[in-house]
Amino acid sequence: MRRRFGIRTLATYGLLAAGSIVVAFPLLLAVSYSLMTESQIATFPPPVVPVGATLDNFASVLATIPIGRYLLNSFVVSTAVVVGQLVTASLAAYAFSFLVFRGRTLLFFLFLSTLMIPWEATIIPNYITIRAIGWLDTYQGLAVPFMATAFGTFLLRQAFLQIPRELWDSARIDGASSLRFFLSMVVPLSRPALGTVAIYGFLSTYNQYFWPLLITNETLMRTTQVGIAQLRFEETLRWGLVMAGVVMVATPTLALLVLGQRQLIRGLTAGAVKG
């Protein structure tokens, strides 16, 4: 019995290890390329592990673009978007799941239908609006258009619907207001869902390219993805340089994901035990 368990564990770990290598391979290759010289990368078959690592590529990135400033901008904007999305999406989802009012379903489907509008179609009107308010080259201009999210609202509504109706009834009987119930019951119980919305919102804002490019002209207001584009030369692609930029841009988000994942799992188990 014990032996079989051992083999099974071994097999599970083996599969997981193989899977994680497949998933992590592009990332590891990026790290490895960022440490190679151009002529090393250009040998055939392409090498996987650098021989005698060099940090020249990172130095070139620092010399070519103000990456520190770009990272700061991306963080400020992404954090603002996450905060905005959590507030608007959770309140909207609360209304759609707990409050009863006329036309709720219709309004919800109208809300959802905005998911079907391709973002390309909204770019020009959004640009004209932002320009009219005078928000070109500002953090507001980069962040505010993304502070409401239909997808996040949908996700949170589904999570809120999982909360037993009895909780709502007993809270009302105890005299809790809607806001009180929302803050002390709904939010703590939905931490995993809120975490998912937060991480999704952060990453998609962090990875934006066209919108930041469109509404910024000042170097100091640009974001990381525009910076990576600046590292791609039209005629000769220097993989080492581009990969060094990618590594520098990806590291903070990875760190955030690792930290956030812990929080997420804790939230998940806490909910499971209490629920």
Binding site: R232, E234, T236
Partner: protein, 455 residues
Amino acid sequence: MKRFAALALALAVAAAACGGGAPGGGDQSAQAPGKDVKPAAKITWWHAMSGVNGDAVKRIVDGFNASGKGIQVEAVFQGNYDDLLAKLNTALASNAAPALVQVYDIGQAYMRDSGQVIPMQAFIDRDKFDTKDFEPAVINYYKYQDKLQSMPFNASSAILYYNKDAFKEVGLDPAKAPVTFTEVADAAKKLTKKDASGQTTRYGFGPSIYGWLFEQLMATSGALYADNGNGRDNKATKVLWSSDAAKGILSWWKAGVSGGYFFNPGIDNDGAANAFNAGKTAMYIESTARLRGHITTIAGKFDIGTGLYPRPDSKPNSGGNIIGGASLYIMKSRPAEEQQAAWEFVKYAMSPAVQAQWQADTGYYPIVKAAYDQGPSKEWSTKYPQFNTAIDEIRNSPQNRSTNGAVLGVMPQARQRTQKMIEAVLLGQATVDAAVDAAVADINAQIEKYNKANP
């Protein structure tokens, strides 16, 4: 990046469809401001030059700003060519476009038909600005009905790159590059190497499936890509890819791939360049602007040679190479003062000293011939003697409609369609005739639609 290209095109087509008010061939009658208009103190210039080229742009701008003309140019990087065009379209919708923009070669018809541009010829005629010393091959590319639409800025062409060490190894003369289709194929057969297990370790020739290379092959064949003088005498109404020249190119390419002596990297320019750098292919064709990158990357691992671009065995006298790259447009929507300032900057950028420095910094052709007499240009030629092939090539290209290159409103789409066409042939999904017919039908329909939207 492909996605943004698609977006740029979608925006371009949408804008073209909405802005149908422009008269045929854009606004050729748009006037330059009067000579006495005082230039603005500050203008913005949007460009798509990143990395080393971006630094070279900064150098030009800094030089101009310090030249005491009382004009400050602010150069803003706006992503690659497609991104820049997409941003320009958005900005035009709310009157936020800058005075000067850099747009790639194949955006020419779109810029003209947008009616948002003052043709460069208007400034040239007004000031009787002398363009005699301009490289004819370069300047002719940006002409419509013999009027210059925009000022060429970064210019490159295509050449054959080859591995001299591999040539020596198989007994080919490393000083003599193959030129005709048959010569290239014969050399490629000799250069192809297999290991004991029958795996090919080196292919003789390995061009990327890149529409621009096909356009160049059409030009060295002396053939037209589209009707109405490649769309330069009048708007093109159809493409001419079913000519014998086009089919000859495709058959040659296909025979090489099927025979196992041409490598097919797919639609992948960087992949083709990497294969050459790594010695996996012994010859390939690409932009002259890649020369310096190759020399840096190869770093002495083998000797790199350059030769004339391949052409049919008959070596037609009318055949030659087309210019690629990008040019500068002065926008009509800005105040006259800003247009004046933009023109001052353009003139500065075209001075021989600036052009020589630009060549040395980037590896593009100088636009004015006098630049070759300047120090930085001479140093460049000494350092990279392979570049002389590139200069000879465009110097010796006869100037006619086929070497001027095609201008189509749907040029980006046409280029992508030729790539699909070539791929279908190389992968054996279609015969040459079938692939050509399908592609021609597709693009002719798109041309018709475009011309209807831009009468």
